[in-house]
């Protein structure tokens, strides 16, 4: 029985990975003349979605406990606005602001986690209020679109290029293009690896799975369920703040409408990556591929050029639907075998 369970979950993950490669190769074939085959296109997917990757890692941890965190999009907007206004209007130093943003994330997550863990309020409602709150606070900080240009440290950080020694090509003008990644990608990958190791090898990581699998048995095993939940939401908001810094390094601006609907991207990435919504099953590697699929879809739509951007939303939603149905079918099969 146990072997069967692992099989169906790995199967979901394998489907996701296969889907990503099929999609990407299809893109390479169809849009070969538009530069889809270059390594840089793939790296751009990573650069554009570095923030989302951090958020998706946090979301996976929360979803493992059987919860959900829909405040992430608004929290990113608040982080970006705080960074932008802090640098441009208050003239504060970038490292200090980044540190403050991380602290804000922790506090924000702690409040949400307290309401969910200790007051036993539904996660969806609490984080919905958090979403309202963060979006509103963004407007309290400023309702303008603030772009970051004066803080030299931050600008340098954003423009930093890390070149990759292979995959170089000459473009149509005959200039050698060396593929590169931004610092945000490195941050996101470090986050991914750390969360992966944490989920696999630490006590906290294992208790996340235990709480999501069955709360009652987790309590009986002597795990502090409330505390674990509190920590999970703190972790989510913390990673979201890291994602917010990445997002800000990418957009170099803050506005009230920023990262609208990002929570849905993060959730769909995690679901596509095989994280069960009921909790207890999932992996950040899956979420990583979920983010890549998300990014590839929007790149495909953009490369086409003729399609409306709403097609990428519809495609992601259709994929989400496909995976949800797949999960439910697997769950039904498992139940009937019991």
């Amino acid at each position: 029985m146990k072997g069967k369970k692992i099989n169906s979950n790995t199967l979901l993950l394998l489907i996701t990975i296969a889907l990503f490669f099929v999609m990407y190769i299809a893109g390479c074939v169809v849009y070969a003349n538009k530069g889809f085959t270059h390594l840089q296109t793939f790296l751009n997917v990573l650069i554009n979605n570095a923030g989302l990757l951090c958020v998706a890692c946090g979301m996976t941890c929360v979803m493992l406990t059987g919860g959900i965190d829909i405040s992430v999009g608004s929290l990113i907007a608040m982080d970006c606005m705080f960074l932008a206004v802090g640098m441009e209007r208050w003239g504060m130093s970038a490292p200090l602001l980044c540190l403050l943003v991380l602290v804000i994330g922790l506090v924000f997550g702690a409040v949400q986690g307290f309401c969910i863990g200790y007051l036993e309020i539904q996660p969806f409602i609490v984080t919905m209020a958090g979403m309202f709150f963060a979006r509103g606070m963004t407007a309290v900080i400023s309702t303008d679109q603030v772009s970051i240009s004066s803080n030299q440290f931050f600008v340098n950080l954003a423009n930093m290029k890390f070149q990759i020694p292979f995959g170089a090509y000459t473009n149509s003008k005959g200039v050698l293009q060396i593929p590169f990644v931004r610092i945000t990608v490195l941050i996101a990958l470090v986050v991914l690896v750390v969360v992966f190791l944490m989920l696999r090898y630490t006590k906290f990581g294992r208790s996340l799975y235990a709480v999501g699998g069955n709360e009652q048995s987790a309590t009986m095993m002597g795990l502090d369920v409330k505390r674990t939940k509190l920590k999970a939401y703190m972790l989510s908001s913390f990673l979201c703040s890291i994602g917010g810094i990445c997002y800000c390094l990418n957009t170099m601006s803050g506005s009230v409408q920023q990262a609208l609907g990002l929570e849905m991207d993060a959730i769909s990435s995690a679901v596509i990556g095989g994280t069960l919504l009921t909790g207890g099953v999932g992996n950040v590697i899956g979420s990583f591929f979920g983010v890549l699929i998300n990014g590839t879809i929007s790149t495909l739509v953009k490369t086409n050029g003729k399609l409306l951007s709403s097609w990428s939303n519809i495609a992601v939603a259709a994929l989400l639907c496909f995976f949800i149905v797949l999960q439910s079918i697997f769950a039904k099969i498992k139940e009937s075998k019991k």
């Binding site: 036993e120 539904q122 409602i125 309202f132 769909s268």
Partner: protein, 355 residues
């Protein structure tokens, strides 16, 4: 002491208390700014139509009230929320306007097809969306929030596609009536009232209300007792979609256009909030329709009051968030247990002192 408890224990206490609080704030505000103290309640007839802040709240709150009906049933039957209603509203509005204006037309003054066909088309599409959600939740056992997440992100995008990425304007009088005035009464108020009455009568005259509650309390037990649990849950989602469709058409008619990006934005949150404010448990089971309706108008009253106090629409969510957290904290079982323990301790201390 026991009288206080009796009053606070009433099911409608929370929404009515909030409503009274909002009214008090309004009166205070009017007094502070030197207006007539009961300015909030004055209803007059201007330009041949009813005018007043109360009428404005009733008018603007119609969509939320219609959504709250469906949301109450969904919450009760499936212990989950339908977060797609706002997007479905936008989709219904887009489809309705597209039918009325013709595909690819961005502005029209005469209708491409009869008004009723366009309106019914929009509402029907919303019902289909509701049925899709219901199918996922009832028959595939997907968590409600996640099942509706699909349409939450897709419906608005499909609406944009239907409108060819344009804002479709339908500047036609009969269409404007839906969101305008019927005689001297704002039509949305009438529509909301009709919806509420129809649903209330159905729930009262048939056993459906009881069935929904019993499914919400225990799905498996209800099935064993002979109820078709899945079909009842499915039905609730269809009703929710129907409500979203009606609300969408009203919202489109109000601005006589289909603005896919803005119609119904954050309405799902208002609808859920009104259900919670109405004293209904978000964990499913027993429900109170009247509470939800009062809750819906209270939300609108809060929004209108905030705007009247000069809070910008961007900042208003902060206050709404604080209100939500306070309400759900009061409802939370651990909080209730804590309060009970405290009052018991107090009683004990009193008893000890007396002895």
């Amino acid at each position: 002491m026991s009288n206080v408890k009796k009053i606070t224990g009433m099911r409608l206490f929370l929404p009515i208390f909030c409503m009274v609080l909002v009214m008090a704030v309004n009166i205070l505000y009017d007094v502070a700014s030197g207006n007539f103290a009961l300015n909030f309640f004055t209803i007059s007839i201007r330009n041949g139509v009813l005018y007043g802040r109360l009428i404005d709240i009733l008018n603007r709150g119609s969509e939320i009230a219609i959504l709250a009906i469906g949301m109450t049933l969904v919450v009760s039957a499936s212990a989950g929320t339908d977060i797609s209603v706002g997007s479905v509203m936008s989709l219904a509005a887009s489809f309705c306007c597209m039918l009325l204006a013709g595909y690819g037309v961005s502005s029209t003054t005469d209708l491409a097809m009869p008004l009723i066909a366009g309106v019914l088309g929009g509402i029907l599409l919303a019902c289909v969306c509701g049925a899709f959600n219901g199918f996922l939740v009832a028959y595939l056992n997907v968590q409600p929030m996640v099942a509706t997440l699909i349409l939450y992100s897709a419906a608005r995008a499909i609406g944009l596609l239907l409108c060819n990425n344009l804002i479709v304007y339908v500047r036609e009088d009969s269409f404007k009536t839906i969101g305008g005035y019927l005689g001297f009464i704002p039509t949305p108020i009438v529509i909301a009232a009709v919806c509420v009455v129809i649903v209330a009568v159905i729930l009262k005259k048939t056993a459906l209300g009881l069935y929904i509650q019993s499914v919400g309390i225990n799905k498996r037990a209800s099935r064993i007792a002979g109820l078709n649990s899945s079909r009842i849950i499915f039905l609730c989602y269809v009703v929710c979609g129907l409500g979203a469709g009606i609300a969408g058409v009203v919202a489109a008619s109000r601005i006589s256009s289909a603005d896919s990006n803005n119609i119904g934005l954050n309405y799902e949150l208002d609808a859920i909030l009104s259900v919670a404010l109405g004293g209904n448990s978000l964990g499913g089971g027993k429900f109170n329709l009247a509470g939800s309706i009062i809750g819906a108008y209270t939300i609108q009253a809060i929004t209108t009051t905030l705007y009247a106090l000069g809070v910008s629409s961007d900042v208003a969510p902060v206050y709404k968030a604080i209100i939500v957290i306070i309400i759900v904290t009061i409802q939370a079982p651990p909080f209730k247990a804590y309060m009970k323990k405290r009052s018991a301790k107090k009683a004990l201390a009193k008893g000890g002192a007396a002895a």
